[in-house]
């Protein structure tokens, strides 16, 4: 079970709250700020056929869950959960803080209409966590993990005005990963679905642009930001 402590810790990062707090104002601004007379028909073909984007996302939630306990998708990393299953496992090392790179993603977008695009994204997340000797407290090794996600998405531009686009997207893909635990002396291969929903995102710029979006899903939860090129 996801402990309340873990949930608190995740949400205390403030990123979810910051994005959620921004969302209503952001959406209402985008609806009201436009000039309807100048808007082109959303059904027209897209101005650029392709886009390439590089981004960095906040919390790879499922990776966190799976990296820290190793096998259960519903348990958490927290040591309070850790229960030695056998007597000899009591003397295995204990784990220190865990760190992640966050999702580093690259994607190619295929713009079919001004309102619709299909994207294919590739995400990377690296994880590491020091392991300490239970008897001496000294560092005994490092658990490491890496995951790669392949995420096709459908993106819907609900505002597309020259410099500014606002959009929502939904995607379904897979995440493949490997995690090596020195304290257990094993490696886990992980495979899980990447289900990702972006309620709101914004890109600013014409050919070269910056973007930011908030997302919820197994690939990441929180914010993503980055740059892109249209051609």
């Amino acid at each position: 079970m996801l402990s309340s402590r873990a949930i608190r810790k995740i949400f205390s990062a403030k990123l979810v709250w910051a994005m959620l707090a921004l969302l209503p104002g952001w959406m209402s601004w985008s609806m009201l700020a436009g000039e309807p007379g100048k808007a082109r028909d959303m059904r027209e073909p897209a101005e650029f056929d392709y886009e390439v984007r590089l981004g960095w996302a906040g919390i790879p939630l499922m990776d966190a869950v799976m990296f820290y306990d190793g096998y259960s998708p519903f348990a958490v990393y927290d040591v309070s959960w850790y229960q030695p299953t056998s007597m000899e496992s009591i003397y295995r090392g204990y784990r220190g803080p865990g760190y992640m790179t966050g999702i580093i993603s690259a994607e190619v977008d295929f713009n079919f209409k001004r309102w619709f695009a299909l994207t294919l994204g590739l995400g990377f997340n690296g994880m590491y966590q020091d392991v300490y000797d239970t008897m001496t407290g000294r560092k005994a090794g490092c658990n490491r993990g890496v995951s790669v996600s392949v995420l096709p998405e459908a993106r819907f531009n609900w505002l597309n005005r020259g410099m500014v686009r606002m959009y929502s997207s939904v995607g379904l893909g897979i995440v493949l990963g490997v995690q090596r635990n020195v304290d257990y002396g094993n490696s886990n291969f992980v495979l899980y679905p990447a289900v990702q929903f972006t309620p709101a995102g914004i890109s600013v710029g014409r050919r070269v642009y910056g973007f930011a979006e908030c997302g919820v899903g197994t690939q990441f939860t929180g914010g993503m930001a980055g740059v892109g090129v249209r051609f």
């Binding site: 995740i10 309070s80 229960q83 220190g96």
Partner: protein
Amino acid sequence: MFRMKRVLKYLAMASLACGLCSCEVYSDEDYIQEPGYIVAQRVYRVFVNEIFQAAELADFFQQYQLLRGDRDAAVRLAEEYFRINYAENWDERLFYEMAEIPGYGYVYLNEDGTFNVSLYGTSYSSGFTGREYKVSSDAAGHFAITSETPEDQSSPEWSIQAEAACGQETVVLENSNISCRTEEYSVSAVSVEGAPVQKQKVPVSGFVYQASAGSLHFVYEEPEDEFRDEFDLGFASGYVTVSRGASVLKCEPLDEVNDKTVDYVIEQSN
């Protein structure tokens, strides 16, 4: 345009915050680790607690033998000794040569006057199943308790020798030598001279899980890895201590049901 810039500024700040937060959002806290505590709580549950239970069953059964012909007195003794105040069909539980005590187990009278004790609570998850305790007595309330691995079993193995004295209020393990071994590890828990382990008796306090005084010396070994650990477990009222030389950890009391694996240290000295 001005509003848009402001929104973008907030958006950039939020994105930066989310990126920074992701770096250490999952870090956990530092805990004082004492594997000895976890070893001790398992050994206590599987072995030490059962020695106390075997001693109390034997103590009851010894008293019962003196009045077993008087059924009313026998039932009264059973109810008072085990503080069982619900309606039990004692006729089906109290026989001359055998008694079954709800919540504890069975005790049998052998022809040579010794008892065999078989407890309900023998922990199946530990692998040390099928244990039966042989109890002999050289004086009222004074028992020698032993249990050995059955001959047809090779692993896990155990060997228990203990002497227990049941007084009016406490059960005292005057000396005890517990050892258990699997293919991966072995553990022994031996009485510390001058610090007999003692626990409140059931008739005085109801069922009390943890001993309240005394010490056990533990040795844990993993032969394959040539790993060895030694420590003392001290019992007190409401807590236990794990000592390694001058270093003493005051820890949460042992629990009958749940192993504590973190946040069990109350105080650390030295």
